[in-house]
Amino acid sequence: MNKYKDEKWLDELISGYIDTSEPKFDAEKWRQKYSWEFQSLVDRRSQSSPEGQVGILSVVLKSRVVKVAAAVIIVAISFFIIHQQSSEKVDTNAVSKVTISPTDMLTVASLNIAYRKGGLEAVEAQFEKAHGTRKPRATSISLQELLN
């Protein structure tokens, strides 16, 4: 057991020594005494944004969730753009191959594309074009035989 448990006498002694009356802050006096510091505080009012109007950038920078969401959106858009560009590249190559090489013009895929674009007439035109580029031309082989 603590021999100083009854602290009333101690509290009275300390209270008697320390001026325990609550000090009051005199704002007016302080403003006059520290006028430069007070002015620098008030001057910040003009530097800050008007009340109620909050900049988008400040909102984005303050919120972690918004930051993460913005990052995810940016990454998703970048990924989409890159993917689009790469697929477009492949298609262009395919078309150029079809138009350049007669052999490629006569593949099932190329003929299928031609049929979808213009029916049997387009297929025939593609054959004609392919044959037109081939030398020497085999006159004795019919279209039917060629397909078989």
């Binding site: 006498w9 002694l13 300390i14 325990t20 000090p23 704002a27 005494k33």
Partner: protein, 178 residues
């Protein structure tokens, strides 16, 4: 206004709202005077140091990143202001950082004994004694100022008072129960 949280008031003060800053000063002034008094040992000097600290805070407030920790931040500024003042004013007698200038004055023996006993305490122990005895400051408020738990404050206060009681009882004060 008085029910606004510290962080709301700090945010407004950062944007130049002087009324919010004044409210923060009113809220923390007694605690800050208690802290500076525990270092300087003089009430008038303590009030000057606390006011000086608030002036520094008015300028440096935008640097405060954790707006809800204004109490601990202003307390640190106050301690520095009081220590600077202690160096420049050079009181007649200084024990560590604590002035016992009035020991030789015409105060009564009990006050003198308390003053000497307080001077023997560590700065943090003396600080918590002053905070507690300034108008019976609550543990909650002291906790906000010192940035430690109420339990820790209770322990620190108990140890400080025990040390004071031992010293004072040796000099014939108090009711020592054996």
């Amino acid at each position: 206004m008085s029910q606004e949280s510290d962080s709301v008031l700090v945010e407004a003060a950062v944007n130049g709202d002087d009324e919010s800053f004044t409210e923060l000063c009113r809220r923390y002034y007694p605690a800050m005077v208690a802290i500076t008094h525990s270092i300087l040992g003089d009430r008038h000097l303590a009030e000057d140091a606390a006011q000086q600290a608030f002036a520094k805070a008015a300028v440096q407030l935008p640097r405060l990143t954790r707006k809800n920790q204004f109490g601990g931040w202003i307390a640190a500024i106050c301690r520095n202001a009081a220590r600077d003042m202690l160096r420049t004013t050079k009181p007649r007698h200084v024990t560590e950082e604590y002035s016992i200038a009035a020991v030789e004055s015409n105060e009564n023996p009990a006050s003198e004994a308390v003053k000497v006993a307080l001077a023997s305490l560590s700065a943090s122990a003396r600080e918590v004694i002053y905070l507690r005895f300034y108008d019976g400051m609550s543990y909650e408020h002291i906790s906000a100022v010192l940035g430690i738990s109420q339990q820790a404050i209770n322990g620190r206060l108990r140890r400080a008072k025990r040390k004071l009681a031992e010293q004072l009882s040796r000099k014939g004060f108090g009711e020592v129960r054996l």
